[in-house]
């Protein structure tokens, strides 16, 4: 509770006590009308002075059609009609409602702020062998920092000493800790769990992941959703309409029937009922809660408009490498075609032959062999001879090993027909030992396993087209697309052609929004051009965070499904509030005008509906989307 809220709560309690006292006194004793009036009027002034003051202020500023004005007129009118207890009650309940609103707003603000509280307080800087606690801002690139277990990683850097696990939940929503070893990158904002880490800083605090994320979250909701804009506009038109209707309700029937006090009383009720607070507060609160729920799940949304747009996505356009695939080359298949050389031997021989190469494919084979237990790849390797564009030859433990593509094989008179076909995703490395074909190792950038499952779920949620844009070759693109369940493939695109292709897609999918999902590496222009740009694995790339509207911190495609669910939940809550609030108000307005509902019902229609809508909005913060499994 803030100071102001405490003060207001005390005022409400005192006023409530005063009100009860005034009611009791006037019920028990026969007191003169003037005394009764003074009694209630004092309580009234005490509880409503700020509303009255604001109303006067607004009238002076010539922009007075807001809830203060409605309440001031309604309660003043009730006073004038001699309905003192009603007048006080209206104000008292209005204040209770306002207090509750402000409290709920502050609570949810705090909840979400806590969710995103990833700011590190200090860094342990190592200087001349001594450790000093400093502000992360003071650390410069190249400094060495020490991170103890339980501490938050203050700056981005590379581990130079120590093994540990990192809790990345605050950043990615992923609850499984990530193992970390020397040579690997650490990202600020994660929590070091088990071991002491020595880290060489690679980014100053201002450019560190944690600063960028905080900046992004704090400036979110800059772009307001259409629902919010609608509500603002609605309130602008609505309040004057209600005021004029109330005036009409007070005058026209009275002129006909001559019952002025009845109709003025009904007009005042009308004003109380009509207060638009419930809508005006609950809709932005729903969206804010939605953004909070998203960030809890490792999804950063840069504005509530994107949360709304996401629910209307009919076309999803994907980048291939790093988005649909893992983005790293790995040995995916080993085929032995010669009984004398089994798959393990094949891998070892090939890895040894390629051990002097720095080609990415060679490195991935070497890595696979090391993982399988190869310890000293360079031992026993002689006469390495690179054959440009074909592969290489080397003598390994006395055997001549040739590894390369089909051109190398035909050089060794190994025909095309003996070579096994691969899966089509990647590159096939054929191996011949002493001139005899031995087998094949396939190195591929594998499609993510969950792609198909996620897309099937998204299809059920209303996404109609899945399209892939890639600079890669047609065959690889087709293979990945069929495994992932992509409908349309546009291959061999240069980065600038991707934008053109997206323009065409935008042109052809006018009904519904188009989202582009990429990793932010050389596709920033496409991210910007799409209705919604979604960057995956945003932790690594600055460009992605800059260009995208939504950032999935993790590089799992399931994040898309989560984001979709959160977006739909948020919208449904926002609509529930709009329909509920407007529905109840219209109903009560009609009942009030007909004289069926009294002032108490009017107060419920105002405060009660507000409170219910706020409670409904807050629900979204605790919303947990279904995960893909």
């Amino acid at each position: 509770m803030t100071k102001k809220q405490k003060k207001n709560l005390r005022r409400i309690l005192i006023a409530a006590a005063g009100y009860v006292l005034a009611v009791l006194v006037s019920a028990i004793w026969q007191i003169p009308e003037l005394v009764r009036f003074i009694l209630f009027f004092l309580v009234y002034l005490y509880i409503s002075w700020d509303v009255l003051r604001k109303t006067l202020m607004n009238i002076r500023a010539k922009d007075f059609m807001d809830e203060n004005f409605l309440m001031a007129v309604a309660s003043f009118g009730a006073m004038a009609l001699g309905e003192y207890p009603e007048a006080v009650a209206v104000m008292l309940f209005y204040q209770v409602g306002e207090w509750f609103q402000s409290y709920a707003l502050e609570r949810s603000r705090k909840n979400i702020a806590d969710l995103m509280d990833i700011r590190p307080d200090y860094a342990n800087l190592e200087k001349n062998g001594e450790i000093e606690e400093v502000d992360p801002e003071e650390v410069v690139v190249g400094d060495i920092i020490v991170i103890q277990p339980g501490e938050r990683v203050p700056l981005d850097g590379t581990v130079i000493e120590g093994n540990s696990t990192l809790d990345t939940a605050a950043l990615t929503g992923e609850s499984v800790p990530r193992g970390i070893h020397p040579g690997q990158e650490v990202i600020s904002g994660c929590i070091n769990q088990s071991g002491v880490l020595k880290v060489k800083v690679t980014k100053a605090f201002g450019e560190s992941t944690v600063s960028r994320i905080l900046d992004l979250v704090e400036n979110a909701t800059d772009k307001k959703s259409r629902s919010e804009q609608f509500i603002t506009k609605f309130a602008r038109i609505y309040t004057p309409v209600v005021v004029y209707s109330a005036i009409a309700l007070a005058i026209i029937p009275s002129l006909i029937t001559g019952q002025w006090s009845t109709w003025i009383y009904r007009a005042l009720e009308f004003l109380v009922i009509s207060c638009p607070c419930a809508l005006v507060i609950s809709v932005p609160l729903s969206f804010f809660g939605g953004i909070g729920a998203a960030s809890k799940n490792g999804i950063l949304v840069k504005g509530s408009s994107y949360l709304q747009d996401l629910a209307e996505v009919k076309t999803m356009v994907f980048d291939k490498t790093g988005t649909l695939t893992h983005g790293t080359f790995e040995v995916t298949n080993i085929i032995s075609e010669n009984p004398a050389v089994n798959t393990d031997q094949l891998l070892n021989l090939c890895a040894k032959a390629e051990s002097f190469s720095s080609h990415p494919i060679a490195l991935s084979i070497l890595n696979a062999a090391k993982k399988a237990g190869l310890t000293d790849p360079k031992a026993g390797v002689e006469n390495v001879e690179e054959i440009a564009g074909k592969g290489l030859k080397a003598t390994v433990d006395g055997k001549v090993v040739a590894c390369g593509n089909e051109k190398l094989m035909s050089l060794l008179n190994i025909g095309h027909d003996v070579l096994p076909a691969g899966s089509g995703f990647g590159t096939n490395v054929y191996i011949a030992v002493d001139g005899i074909f031995a087998g094949m190792i396939e190195v591929a950038d594998e499609p993510k396993e969950d792609a198909k499952v996620v897309f099937d779920l998204l299809r059920k949620e209303g996404v109609e087209r899945f399209i892939m844009l890639t600079g890669d070759s047609e065959t690889v693109a087709r293979a990945v697309a069929s495994k992932a369940g992509i409908d349309e493939v546009h291959a061999k695109l240069l980065p600038e052609q991707k934008v053109d292709e997206l323009e065409k897609i935008l042109e052809s999918s006018k009904n519904g929004k188009t989202a582009y999902i990429g990793d932010g590496i050389n596709d920033a222009p496409v991210l910007t051009r799409a209705d919604i740009g979604i960057a995956m694995g945003g932790l690594g790339s600055d460009a992605a965070i800059e260009a995208a509207d939504i950032v999935l911190m993790d590089d799992q495609l399931s994040g898309l499904y989560k984001a979709d669910q959160i977006s739909k939940k948020t919208l449904s809550i926002a609509y529930q509030n709009i329909v509920f609030a407007i529905g109840i108000k219209v109903l009560m307005l009609v009942l009030g005008a007909l004289g069926i509902v009294n002032m108490w019902g009017a107060v419920f229609a105002d405060v009660g509906v507000s409170v219910l809508c706020i409670l409904n909005s807050i629900r979204i913060i605790r919303y947990a989307p279904k995960t893909v499994r």
């Binding site: 102001k4 922009d63 979110a220 909701t221 800059d222 307001k224 005006v280």
Partner: protein, 71 residues
């Protein structure tokens, strides 16, 4: 240039009023008030922000003096 200022606004109506007031100040291209993060984001010519905020503080006193703007 875009600059962000901390504000204290408790209700959507006050936020709308602040937004209205600031966006009408000469030199402001656009502005938005974020009720949830309590931020006022002003897009204006570089170097003019201080002046704009001073004007906003002055004008808000007349419109709604519950709104606090931290320059």
């Amino acid at each position: 240039m875009r600059k962000t200022f901390k504000v204290e606004v408790d209700c959507p109506t006050c936020a709308a009023k602040l937004e209205d007031c600031v966006s009408k100040i000469n030199g402001v291209d656009s502005c938005s008030v974020n009720l949830m993060t309590q931020k006022l984001i002003v897009n204006a010519e570089a170097g003019r922000h201080a002046e704009i905020i001073d004007m906003a503080i002055e004008q808000m006193k007349k419109i709604d003096d519950d709104v606090v703007i931290y320059a």
